[in-house]
Amino acid sequence: MSRILEVRIPDGPLPEKWSNYKAKARLVSPNNRKKLDVIVVGTGLAGASAAASLAEMGYNVKSFCFQDSPRRAHSVAAQGGVNASKNYRNDGDNVFRFFYDTIKGGDFRSREANVYRLAECSASLIDQAVAQGVPFAREYGGYLRNRSFGGVQVSRTFYARGQTGQQLLLGAYQALMRQVSAKKVTLYARHEMLDLVVIDGRARGIIARNLDTGQTERHAAHAVVLATGGFGKIYYLSTLAMGCNASAIWRAHKKGAFMANPSWTQIHPTCLPQSGAYQSKLTLMSESLRNDGRIWVPLQHDDTRAPGAIPEEERDYYLERKYPSFGNLAPRDIASRAAKEQIDAGKGVGPLKNAVYLDFSKAIGEYGKSTITERYGNLFTMYKKITGIDAYREPMKISPAAHFSMGGLWVDYDLMTSVPGLFAIGEANFSDHGANRLGANSLLQACVDGYFVLPYTLQNYLADEIRTPRFDPDSTPFIEVERAVKAQLQQFTDCRGSKTADEFHRELGRELYDKCGLLRSGEGLRNAIRNIRELREAFRHDLLVPGHTDEVNSELEKAGRVADYMEIAELMCIDALHREESCGAHFREEYQTAEGEARRDDERFCYSAAWQWTGNPSEPVLHKEPLVFETITPTVRSYK
């Protein structure tokens, strides 16, 4: 049965909601805080900032990550920048404009109150990061520099060379290590969370596997925070790191946490194309390249001439043609979809005909090579390192790749999931980006969740827990969950089939990318669901994992992640199939305008879809969170 979800948005006009919340939020006195334990899974920007802030407040924190150091979480990979409405440029930026850009960018499919809070807290993040020593770009006078990023008309993006994520994360990591040294945080690197322990309806701990020894461990706490990042790796080829996974959130989902809008995935237009079957990941080339690069394909099908040999009149600069006002800077979802159309029409370039050109010859002609080097030198070097091609002489080849999960665990205004005591922050939750994320907004969201929101909302929850004694990790509920985890691991190594986890993963990824990627259709999705079920069955019987469970075993780690992908993939297709409209990154072929643009259906689909696990991956139950717009009016998102 379906129920209306309780979002618990505070009273008052939009700009006052967060202040009202903070004014009324319950507190825990300092001497009681040391009696309370919190588990934070994930050490990316969201997890590290939350763990450090909670420890500073006096809580005992256990911090987990699967990498060998917390500093290596995939937040490091973000190049472009982080948004904040400081209005340093005096260009008319303010909190409302930031809020509106984000809501519109998300195609009016996110919650007003959360997005407003994100915009409101953005300025404090820059203060915090600068105080930690994050070396943002500066003007010669010593003040902070900004640039503009896709989809907006103001300059509100702060950046640190091409390493914004890395530098922000080092700030958060150092704050975390300071608390490790103060003995308020215990670090569990190379640990993978494999299940959630729920006692009397509340999250009370996790089961984690020590990846160095293979031993499973039971950890108890008064609350659990998941900051485990995105799961775009489900498509196999993506811009995510090899270890990124959905296991933590999916296993929490199976313990009662709802998954919201799981099929909304941002596919980034400027990645390096796949070069062969052995390919393990796709590297993102910064979107900033589209400021000076022109995107084109040959007009002729299967044109095998070198790019330089194709005369101007035989090229199709399709973005400039279709979107004259935004041109090559059209938003990500639109640029990606347009590229796919060209590739599918047989106009793709490169040996696998899976790419389009990104051409700098005009810009080099106009501004000179040295200017282009100054702007993008490091990207050209990286391109050469990976492809062996000099992009000053020959256009780059780019293609779309899975990049960011807008979907994730459903959370209320407090960032608490539908399991009391279980919180989800950063990319792991579904909250702020609607159906399409604006560039440079997600580093911000991860940081704001961890530094500024969770410390209030988690404390509000813990205020009721001061009388709850510590749970015994040796008690039956923990032992039972651990037993189930061990049994599953054993099953993987006992299976002794013929196909590796990677082989299954590749097949699943291809199916999803084709049918639940940039373009979706009812028929394709129904077909994908059938195929995924078959693949899941095959995985159960035919998986091959050499070695044992009680030792370092990367094949076993992969198997666990792929097992979860096999289930979540079906939910993604079910979610995409049920939503009979197009919005943001979710483009249903049946629901488009005569000009081929997305057709949203606010009558029927102005809600977030939160799915409940029932025990059968094919039969989730849908709950709807209606999106109520009190302050703004949804419009048609047009970039023509």
């Binding site: 290596r72 070396p135 640190a160 690197a189 393990s280 990941k281 062996g388």
Partner: protein, 250 residues
């Protein structure tokens, strides 16, 4: 291209390891080095054998998790490039490539090519931060920082913590790693109040781990994927001595 691989296999920290020989055919020059190892692992697993364990995650040269000695050079023959960004076009058909873990007493082998670099985390924990709690920060532009100072701090801040500096140093010294963080922070006004305690604690922590001392061979700079300059080590030494004279505490 066809290649021969001699790869270090070691079951765990307590076992002795040895080099095993494998051959791999039809390697595509556009493959990355780690994709080449993926391919070898795929073949091994298909035969029911244990995959070669190695560390990696982002495969974009930024997380610092990958790293191995390739023909005796940390991260392999291409200068200022992490193992994951190295491609097979840097090798020739028929070549024999020897792959070993980063060697250092402070980096014990976990299995095969995986090592334990947690000593680096402990060095940072000993003082590699600005002691500012969440919520205490002043308005960002109230701390102006000259462009060249910000850039100079950045040149040190780019360290990815991979450990190639330790692996290429004949003394297995962690000086470049430690100095990069100290140097970044001494260039900035933030956290200046604690500069003396920071450098003292970090250097002492570094010395209490199993790292060797720096004897200025400068191999670390040559192999560092981020080309971090050894001049930062000089700055660390200066700061350390200065702290000894002026602060004489911590």
């Amino acid at each position: 291209m066809d290649i021969v691989l001699k790869i270090w296999r070691q079951k765990d920290q307590d076992s002795t390891g040895k080099l095993e020989t494998y051959t791999l055919e039809e390697v595509n020059p556009d493959m990355s080095f780690l994709e080449m190892l993926d391919t070898l692992n795929h073949n091994l697993v298909k035969q029911g054998e244990r995959a070669i364990e190695f560390d990696h995650d982002c495969r974009e040269g930024i997380c610092g998790q990958c790293g191995m000695m390739i023909d005796g050079i940390a991260h392999g023959p291409l200068k200022h490039t992490t193992t994951c960004q190295l491609h097979m076009r840097s090798f020739c058909d028929g070549q024999t490539i020897q792959i070993e873990p980063f060697r250092a007493e402070a980096f014990p082998v976990i299995r095969d090519l995986k090592v334990d670099r947690s000593a680096f985390d402990r060095i940072i924990a000993s003082g590699g931060y600005v002691s500012v709690d969440t919520g205490q920060a002043p308005e960002a532009n109230s701390i102006p920082i000259a462009h060249h100072d910000a850039e100079a701090a950045f040149d040190a801040a780019v360290c990815i913590g991979c450990g190639a500096c330790v692996a290429s140093c004949k003394n297995a010294s962690a000086s470049l790693f430690t100095a990069a963080k100290i140097s970044q922070m001494t260039r900035l006004p933030q956290g200046r109040e604690e500069a003396g305690t920071r450098v003292t604690r970090m250097v002492r922590q570094m010395e209490s781990e199993d790292f060797g001392h720096c004897t200025n061979t400068e191999a670390c700079e040559v192999e560092c994927p981020q080309a971090i300059s050894v001049l930062h080590i000089a700055r660390m030494n200066y700061e350390y001595n200065r702290a000894g004279i002026f602060f004489n505490k911590a």
